[in-house]
Symmetry: none
Subunit: 399 residues, 2 copies
């Protein structure tokens, strides 16, 4: 049974509000999660009128990366549809990778000029200015016959490497041995289909070595996470939804573009995002609104900061409700407890507000109260079918 075979001609709009890293865990010395500590009266009131649950994004016990978390949210199997590190890095610096491109995450590194062994995997951590100089130099000098090579600046020692041309595939070994004292190995193909790519990347590496010969201390690079862009059925074909993304961070704008959403221009604040939502509300069926601040604070271990982002956004929830979407979903792509300073496996709270949603008697929008909701604990990849169901957009299955 395919969801698209069940689509009818209903037109109810769906708003998916994603607080990145929403879920938390008890914080040492406080004993509560961020959601439990936050004063979020509008989200709490919304939860009281919503179907609630907890989502397992990838699998029980598994902490999802941003790629798998969002792929699951958008209804794509997060394991089968893995979005490679290179693709995500490219998206993160605003590059939407084409099907004939191979990307990788690069480090500027320092090799011993005599032995060729790596002495610093981060090349002394260059300044942003130096990073840009090095990237300009590489874009100027590196050439591979029959292919385009492109370098994009990242932070500190990081950059993105893009190779464009025929026959590229991504089953490649990496050139970063993760230790110093040994020379970086050449790239090898892990399957016959990637042999062309291995050869071309090694040619590029020769050219990079030549280009950086006199650069100090960043006289070479390390490449890992080689990735071509996965084949993904566009959102509109899959769900019959004209979809728009309202996200401020390049990576999330990129993931949305990857599944075929229109990526709308927006200012940096949540108020800006809500205004964009309002202004485009009549033009799309589905809106993905992405708030990054919760995750950023979680990564820093900043419990109060994460609480503050939730509280600030909470004030604007009524403005979203005022648009009266058929379905309003509030959730996250994974948990980022400040207690752990990283993504975690904790299931993600979710509320679905719709006219046919059955409230669970939850009085708060927290992990524990969502656990008692009518949605139960369920796989995140089922959120999109649920959204379509609550929007009345699916015919019944079978007679």
């Amino acid at each position: 049974m395919m969801i698209k075979d069940l689509l009818n001609d209903a037109t109810g709009k769906i708003v998916l509000l994603v607080f990145d890293g929403l879920g938390g865990a008890p914080f040492p010395g406080r004993g509560t999660t961020e959601l439990e500590a936050a004063r979020i009266p509008h989200l709490d009131a919304l939860a009281r009128r919503s179907a609630c649950g907890l989502m397992v994004m990838v699998d029980h016990g598994i902490a999802p990366g941003s790629g798998p978390g969002h792929m699951a949210l958008f209804g794509y199997d997060p394991v089968a549809t893995e979005v490679g590190r290179g693709v995500l890095e490219a998206l993160g610096v605003g590059h939407h990778q084409a099907p004939d491109e191979l990307s990788a995450r690069g480090n500027f590194a320092t090799l011993d000029p005599g032995t060729g062994a790596i002495t610093d995997r981060r090349g002394g951590i260059p300044t942003q200015e130096r990073n840009r100089e090095l990237v300009a130099l590489l874009n100027d000098r590196v050439r591979v016959p029959g292919y385009e090579v492109q370098f994009l600046s990242g932070k500190e020692h990081r950059f993105v490497f893009i190779l464009k041309g025929p026959g590229l595939a991504d089953r490649l070994t990496e050139t970063d041995p993760q230790v110093t004292g040994v020379p970086p190995p050449p790239v090898r193909a892990l399957d016959p289909g990637s042999e062309v790519a291995a050869r071309v990347v090694n040619q590029a590496l020769d050219s990079i070595r030549e280009a950086l010969r006199d650069a100090t201390p960043q006289n070479f690079v390390l490449l890992r996470g080689f990735a071509t862009v996965p084949r993904i059925e566009p959102f509109r074909d899959r769900y019959g939804l004209r979809a728009a993304a309202i996200a401020t961070y390049p990576m999330y704008r990129g993931i949305a573009a990857l599944v075929g959403m229109d990526v709308l221009d927006t200012g940096p604040t949540f108020a800006d995002q809500v205004a964009v939502l309002r202004n485009h509300f009549s033009s799309y069926d589905f809106f993905f609104v992405h708030v990054k601040g919760t995750d950023s604070a979680g990564h820093k271990g900043d419990f109060d900061g994460k609480v503050r982002v939730l509280e600030e956004c909470d004030r604007l929830v009524p403005d979203i409700e005022a648009l009266d979407p058929a379905v309003l979903i509030v959730t996250g792509d994974h948990s980022t407890p400040a207690a752990l300073k990283d993504h975690s496996f904790h299931p993600v709270p979710v509320l679905i507000r719709a006219s046919t949603a059955i409230p669970s008697g939850a009085d708060r929008f927290t992990e524990a109260s969502c656990a008692r909701g009518v949605l139960g604990v369920f796989p995140g990849v089922k959120l999109m079918p649920l959204a379509l169901g609550y929007a009345g957009r699916l015919k019944k299955f079978g007679a």
Copy 2:
């Protein structure tokens, strides 16, 4: 995605305390389950600070045997990794079956000397002494060229049959027709790979018939549950855990050995087991502590007895907590409600205590309160990934 690809170098210890047959059902005339009736203040307090849930060990509505229940607990697919009855019977009498051995559960039986038809499938239920005499006689006389044959005493009319040698497989029909009045059929192979085994078992049966010719009334045997030992990835390879089992019953010690745990010597009481846990706490990463009494009482329909085992063990829970494992799990391998006097399909209560566990507001450790916990109702086979997740032993999946 394989769990082992996500293992990091964290070292938090995991204690898995299994009350065999933990879950219950409302008992006639009382209306409560055993957990609801028990005074277990320490387990209740632990549940209040733990992530709680209910586990479906094999599938909804399915009552698991001890093999599937434990395989699921240890994270092995309980249907794909079936541990045959012969293997479990052998483990139950302390025999750890080797890869080149075929085992079966045996009954001493009585045949009509004239017609060869079975007159008693239990051979008059011999005394334990008579059982041992018969087993000694069989070990003395039964021979199959090129193979070793071994008999091990069980209870009453039961024994374990072990055949050791090349080319044995277990897709065999049984020789117990489950009725009297017909002769026991010979063994037939159900696939070509088991034809050698069929031939050898039938040779053994001829030799057994000869050996028991003058025995009265146990003049033959019935064999069923032929099983070779399944190929199981060892616990340490699968999870990176040095694992130890602290169990008093041979079958559970055997299942633990089957998945590669060290089986520690222990005295018969729960206090003995807790002492063994304490003494070995620094030497392992994972401890499987198995309490049999709950299941035994459940099988007898002894509601109060099951309650009593829970209450007695509850007193020592603080001693386990005092060891401060990163993760403490309390659960069962299946339910054995005294109301049913047998294993049942009821999902099994589970609590996971860890610093990042989100309590659910449950005030008791009961089936119903666990149902409202943040773990929800989930497959038992996911307990190990969850344990590793709560122990911080898994890297995130995807970028």
